[in-house]
Symmetry: D2
Subunit: 350 residues, 4 copies
Amino acid sequence: MPRETFCLRFDMPDPGDAAALRAAIASGRIARDGLRAVLLKTPGNGLTNDHTRTLATREVLAALGPGPAPMMLASGGTEGIAVPHIILLGEMAGGGQPGRGLAIGLGHGPSITPADTAGPAMSRAVAAAVAAAMRTAGVTDAADVVIALVKAPLPSPFAFGGTEEAFAALKGSARAAASLGAAAALGEIPWAQIGDGTTAALHGHRTLVAAGTDVTAPEALVIGQAPGWAGTLRAGATMLVDMLDAPGVAALLASLGLAATPQLTAADAVRLRAVITKGEMPALLRGDRPAALDDSDIHPNRHFRAALGGMIAALTGDGRIFLSGGAEAQTPPGGVLLAIIADTGQEAQE
Amino acid sequence: MPRETFCLRFDMPDPGDAAALRAAIASGRIARDGLRAVLLKTPGNGLTNDHTRTLATREVLAALGPGPAPMMLASGGTEGIAVPHIILLGEMAGGGQPGRGLAIGLGHGPSITPADTAGPAMSRAVAAAVAAAMRTAGVTDAADVVIALVKAPLPSPFAFGGTEEAFAALKGSARAAASLGAAAALGEIPWAQIGDGTTAALHGHRTLVAAGTDVTAPEALVIGQAPGWAGTLRAGATMLVDMLDAPGVAALLASLGLAATPQLTAADAVRLRAVITKGEMPALLRGDRPAALDDSDIHPNRHFRAALGGMIAALTGDGRIFLSGGAEAQTPPGGVLLAIIADTGQEAQE
Amino acid sequence: MPRETFCLRFDMPDPGDAAALRAAIASGRIARDGLRAVLLKTPGNGLTNDHTRTLATREVLAALGPGPAPMMLASGGTEGIAVPHIILLGEMAGGGQPGRGLAIGLGHGPSITPADTAGPAMSRAVAAAVAAAMRTAGVTDAADVVIALVKAPLPSPFAFGGTEEAFAALKGSARAAASLGAAAALGEIPWAQIGDGTTAALHGHRTLVAAGTDVTAPEALVIGQAPGWAGTLRAGATMLVDMLDAPGVAALLASLGLAATPQLTAADAVRLRAVITKGEMPALLRGDRPAALDDSDIHPNRHFRAALGGMIAALTGDGRIFLSGGAEAQTPPGGVLLAIIADTGQEAQE
Amino acid sequence: MPRETFCLRFDMPDPGDAAALRAAIASGRIARDGLRAVLLKTPGNGLTNDHTRTLATREVLAALGPGPAPMMLASGGTEGIAVPHIILLGEMAGGGQPGRGLAIGLGHGPSITPADTAGPAMSRAVAAAVAAAMRTAGVTDAADVVIALVKAPLPSPFAFGGTEEAFAALKGSARAAASLGAAAALGEIPWAQIGDGTTAALHGHRTLVAAGTDVTAPEALVIGQAPGWAGTLRAGATMLVDMLDAPGVAALLASLGLAATPQLTAADAVRLRAVITKGEMPALLRGDRPAALDDSDIHPNRHFRAALGGMIAALTGDGRIFLSGGAEAQTPPGGVLLAIIADTGQEAQE
């Protein structure tokens, strides 16, 4: 039997109550042993003191019960029209013919000490995780990787000492080092250019990094195409030019057979399985300095998620967007990484 | 010579510095005597303690210097991708042939006592202002009104006493009473239905109300079509079904000759003169309760403006949007009022 | 052997990590079977979307392990100098002579339906819980009650529907109804005056109410004096006139043998076991309207906790204060309820 | 006739309405020509986008009308129990016998370019302003200076570019450089130690710096004792050990003849003319890391002002406190600078 990727989505308005997930588990719909990653979009502020991530992670793990440990990618912040939800990614035995289908694989890298959080050891460890994930997925050519989702370890802010600003800065550096390591593994950047892992001008093109204090070693989920996988799911990713690049969103949707004119029909919208994006407020947007950058009451990431969610949902018509701020070395300045998984209704072909 | 409406837009990143406006005045570009209204989109929180509205209003009035008093419509809140800016609306001597062109008129109603802020006296006074504005614009048929912008008087929060919540509630009731009065003047609702001005189920369709403590009598600016007006500007308005109604935005743009597929070309985007919108977070959006409603750190209006700005700019490609929260009796539940003024490049016709 | 009240305090900077409590349990210091109540002061916003309360409650319950279910009183908000901490209250076998010592008792009332949350059924159920708690503590005269801590049930905000403001209002009404019920049980207010449980002019004098979605029936912990209890702990409570009533704090400390001139010595400060307070921003404070009431970016409760914590800690020199906002019917307008438990070093006397 | 310092205080709840000041001016109570400084405590967030400072500054200047330009020291943030108010400091012809009375003097330094904002040129320019202020006040011995209030120039955030964080950092460096310059002028630190103006370990002991974009050259107001000054006002200053140093506050009050046991009597409280303080949240407070440092929704300075205001008002009983955050190089780590001006009722003596 061929392998087949599954991608399930559940609403989770209360981070302490995975009721929809529990119901699905009870109904036997979920291939627990094949589960590889859970993405959690929780309703906190997405910043240092966002404990909704921890609460939802614990609740989901309790709901899932025993089985292989999935990568847990929790991102707080459902500003504006965004809907708190979780996405389950895994593999199951496929029912159709194997082809070049949507492939996924989870990989792990070696442990990172707190002192190495923002340096080359992080880059190397993430690269190892990505390479392992590609092998597991059966993706042999880096060009066949659509996107790599990376969980990077982070020391606890309570152990860290220093100000909230300093911790936020460390988190950013950790994400940057992780992204460059993944980019190297994907063949986007030679190791010689990476140096100490903090070169500001470099960035990956297909990597989303979340940093978390709940792991001590990096994990990576690679999503791509590979032979031997069946099913009707497809994934695509693109780098939006800026926060207003609606044409870029429409083009990505079109590549998956979904026409946004300007918005998907309801029939097409239900084909969406996961909409995943990463970016941050730019210093300049189409020539203007965003006023949001000078707002001392609301963090720029919260402005970003609220506005970008509105922009993307203009085309998809759906607030289930895994929006994440903190795009250090994951995008060019002002760019926004966007990946979409959809059910095309068409079986994978050779 | 025919009358002609002008609509000018200036960035104003600092509410204390109307530099771009001052430069335009110095260059003689502005018909000061014809100025009828200034819309100010300022970078505050748009809530009770948003003093950017007062600061910018004073700065703009100082920059304008002596001349007829325009209606000053200040709205705080440039969350997300929104750009602080001001819009000047007025009339000048037209150079072309008079036709059924874009017409504007400013009208004033009688004074309102603080005790009458939220009641039928407000509705009546606003209706008088709208009627006067229509007469001034030469709009004889209410069907020819595109939108009425209303400034409703409000007592000072410092004189008011009570909590911030109570003041916010009074502000909402004042806007509701004002909107119903305008709707009556526009023939949308019979007076008999309005009763005490607070009937929750009623709402206007073409009225945007801002409440301010800097006036004691309501003012209205009517924008419509009327014979005797020249020029290439046109205006349209629509009621979006919800915060994600991108097709509604596209249809309004199309009615002005601007194609959003999904976004305006740069050549079309520069034709935009004013994008004006009003609404608030709905209790349900496409079946989901917005998490933003449970956010005790950020007011729902701020979530609304950030997300709606992203949605609209997905189509227009421009952050210069006069976004305003507090839509009591101005929209149906969840609806969003949107008006656009654009330069079509085509002279008004008979 | 006489009964003896214990009152232990642990720091808990991370609501997801009860490390200090776990260490104490591991060391065998805690009489688990006698545990009656846990007060949790967590670092969230203390408002609708404060999930630190849920996270810390779950973490503490997991750390405690099996045993009788204590009342869990979680209150978010450690603004300013306040320190996140938990307080354990229970009884153990006393080592000394029984006297009129510090007595505690936990009581339960009947279940409340969501529809009854804010009405007389809540008052009656809370009164039953308080009466049961007095019996358990052996307090026969209501005059011997120092303070009653009440946990009132609340429907989930996710089940509730409506706006965050509406949910906050329901929460306030629930607290008011609960407080009046406790006041009746304590003989402060006759039932005939309570009527529908919402009479604005009435308030209790010795009741602190927290509303939570994690119970469906009210619970009460009564703290008082009763014969048959040993130990060196004493408790006192007072109603501060306003947020600046430092003399009232000093008088309460003095009644427990602690001299604040103006601040406790370090030797006296370590005698503090619990500092518990409840109140909210007043409409007027010594003749001035607090500017905090007009702050649309920060909720008044957060201003209150930050400032009151500073005021109290001026005298105690310690940020471990269980500060709680939302004082509906628990204080007169502007008043602040304050209770302190201290180790006097002197055994209870007959 | 001797010189005499006046110090007047007016409430100003609305930053756009200096009504109390206007009334005082109309009544002829204010020696306009002798006015040297206005301190404005406004109800904004006290951070980058706090426009209440600009609005109130313009309003006060308009109310004052023509006359010598005073130093305008605007500080936003009236969290907790703090009351928005303004303080006028100036000199007038004294009615009594000259003695060693309360002396003030205003001094100006040379202009600073934006590039020099955070460097040694700022230190030198501030030192020149302080020296000039001492001369004007007739204070010849630096030991007779109670406190120096410094206004340091800052480029506009709108001209600056970069993030809000970067601008906040520049502001901090500017304050540090200014404080060290004042400290040198006051003989606290030798110039040789100051070096590039950013040495983190150094700090002044009697200098409060506010940075503002409304000046291009530094200004300093020196408050001290000098012969030839009459009147009953006295000033004192102290460095509180930490945010909870109530004994330090009491000692300073006692030095001015005011007994806080623990709070001033109403009769003594009315003797207060100005309570001025500067500090910020410490990394550790009495052994605990303040949870406020990890709050991504509220800036640490807002936590600081709210809590410190509560602490100080515990002793003074009055919310009219000129609280200011951002204490770079003005205090030791965790320390808080506090200055008080009071009317002792006793004439200055030789």
